[in-house]
Symmetry: C2
Subunit: 177 residues, 2 copies
């Protein structure tokens, strides 16, 4: 199962450099952060709870994991609602080797529970699409080496095809001695 | 032919927001620029010259084009060799619908003639790989709507898998009245 492999590759602590582009205002924003990705067991009460609240209790989750992040600097942000740290539970439910859905306890574009569709492109790039109330987000993650991955996102309005914001993160695995 | 379609989609004037990440030093750099992409005819002397100098004079080019760029600001650059403007001729030679090579009069990672391999991923993402003397560059371009495209790059050392620099550009088509 590709998603299992992807989660296993992603596990660990990552140092992230992230740039976001606000297209309408041509504004840049830069954030340095640390990200922890950790597998949890499918029997975890939080996993069962999230399956239930998404009416997916009859589905079989594969490689659920948590993602924790902590920003170290956000010196150019002028958005007071920017969240400096947080934690999110992600529960993949594959439909096939290439695609499926991921339940998220916290969305990426909006802070609410969300269900994302995922698929793997022909070169292994992981693409995640999420529909929120006001917006659509597409995220892509690809490994450029074992310890370096790239992550991009595009957020657009759910009505029409206006692109609001893009972002790009370069993530380097922190190796512990 | 996919490359024809891709070049046709790319033609025009783009306003680009570009961030680059220097991974070793955790440095960000931001550049606003304008990019002009324009098809040229295969009979153009520059196209014939580039085919010859690459020993590809017997190959049939498809949709050759020029890319011109001009930076409007580069306020965080501390690299005196950063080029603020330039022009590059690109000559695609498809091997199949999905892949081929592109001759470049000027490389991306190093300022010299270069031959890139290209391929299209399953969702249409265009991936370009170039081997230079000292480095390997991978660029990806994908359209998020008709008038917005994203472009990422990863530059690594040609010996070993050290990733030196990544970049990401959000490009919005400038519509002329």
């Amino acid at each position: 199962m590709k998603i299992e492999h992807f989660v296993a590759q992603s596990e660990g602590t990552w140092r992230s450099m992230r740039s976001s582009h606000s297209l309408a205002f041509q504004q840049f924003e830069e954030v340095l952060s640390e990200i922890h990705i950790k597998k949890v067991t499918p029997e975890e009460p939080e996993v069962i709870e999230l399956l239930k609240s998404s009416a997916k209790q009859d589905c079989i989750p594969v490689s659920p994991f948590t993602m924790e992040w902590k920003a170290e600097s956000d010196w150019e942000s002028d958005d007071p609602s920017a969240v400096a740290s947080g934690c999110c539970l992600l529960v993949p439910i594959p439909a096939s080797t290439e695609r499926g859905v991921i339940l998220r306890s916290l969305g990426y574009a909006e802070a609410q529970e969300a269900i994302s569709n995922y698929q793997f492109l022909s070169d292994g790039t992981f693409v995640l699409s999420t529909k929120y109330g006001q917006s659509l987000a597409e995220e892509r993650i690809w490994f450029v080496s074992k310890h370096v991955r790239c992550r991009s996102s595009v957020i657009r309005t759910s009505e029409g095809s206006g692109v609001l914001q893009t972002s790009f993160a370069s993530e380097v695995r922190q190796l512990t001695e």
